[in-house]
């Protein structure tokens, strides 16, 4: 079965520091990969999605970026974090022909 590994589970970073969140996939190949953010009390907001290596689409302009250096690796980055970047970040995947999405366990980011 397909699984997503996300780390770290929690992260506290100072304003202005860099960020790198990693998401790796097992049990499938050539998935569509997604980064979502859930701010406190809100629904999930799509940040980036990727249909293949090196292919990134951005949904929301911001100081975050994403990269997909390998088929099963999706990275969310920032050069300088803002307070408003705090939230719960989820990596997800879909495979053509399968129902629904598979989500990672998430990273709780607090920018202080």
């Amino acid at each position: 079965s397909q699984t997503i590994h996300q780390w770290p589970a929690t992260l506290v970073q100072p304003v202005g520091s860099p960020l790198s969140l990693e998401c790796t996939v097992e049990g499938t190949s050539n998935p569509n990969l997604y980064w979502y953010r859930q701010a406190a009390g809100r629904g999930l907001q799509l940040l980036f999605y990727s249909v293949g290596i090196g292919q990134i689409s951005s949904e929301v302009p911001q100081n975050l970026s994403a990269s997909r250096p390998q088929d099963r690796q999706f990275i969310l980055s920032s050069k300088k974090l803002l307070l408003s970047d705090s939230g719960f970040y989820l990596c997800a995947l879909t495979n053509r022909g399968r129902e629904g999405y598979t989500f990672g366990s998430g990273t709780r980011l607090t920018v202080v």
């Binding site: 997604y34 629904g43 999930l44 799509l46 989820l90 879909t94 999405y101 598979t102 989500f103 990672g104």
Partner: protein, 110 residues
């Protein structure tokens, strides 16, 4: 602008009650509607709905989609404390985009 609106935002019921959660949507290229249950971390998949009027059931949970009126409902019968969670509705568009609602926080009291 694409949007998914869930109601109510929060709900408190007693064990054994039946609850109905609502989800309405306005999206450009509708492909499917999905329901998720989120307890502590990642949402877990409940249902995917693509056709109007066809009820999907899983145990005490059921859901149906109305593509003419652009809404879906999620029913939970004989609620249990383990049903306490945030229930998320999401609409999938062609082009791989998934738009989530804000969620309904359900609390079931024993």
């Amino acid at each position: 602008e694409d949007k998914v609106v869930q109601s109510p935002l929060s709900l408190v019921v007693h064990e054994g009650d039946t609850v109905t959660l609502n989800c309405s949507y306005e999206v450009t290229n509708f492909r499917s509607l999905l329901w998720y249950k989120q307890e502590k971390k990642a949402p877990t998949f409940l249902f995917m709905l693509t056709s109007s009027g066809i009820e999907k059931k899983s145990g005490r949970l059921s859901s149906i989609l109305d593509k003419k009126e652009l809404f879906s409902i999620l029913n939970i019968t004989a609620t249990q404390t383990g049903d306490s969670a945030i229930y998320l509705c999401a609409v999938e568009e062609y082009g791989n985009k998934l738009v989530f609602g804000a969620g309904t926080i359900l609390r079931v009291k024993s």
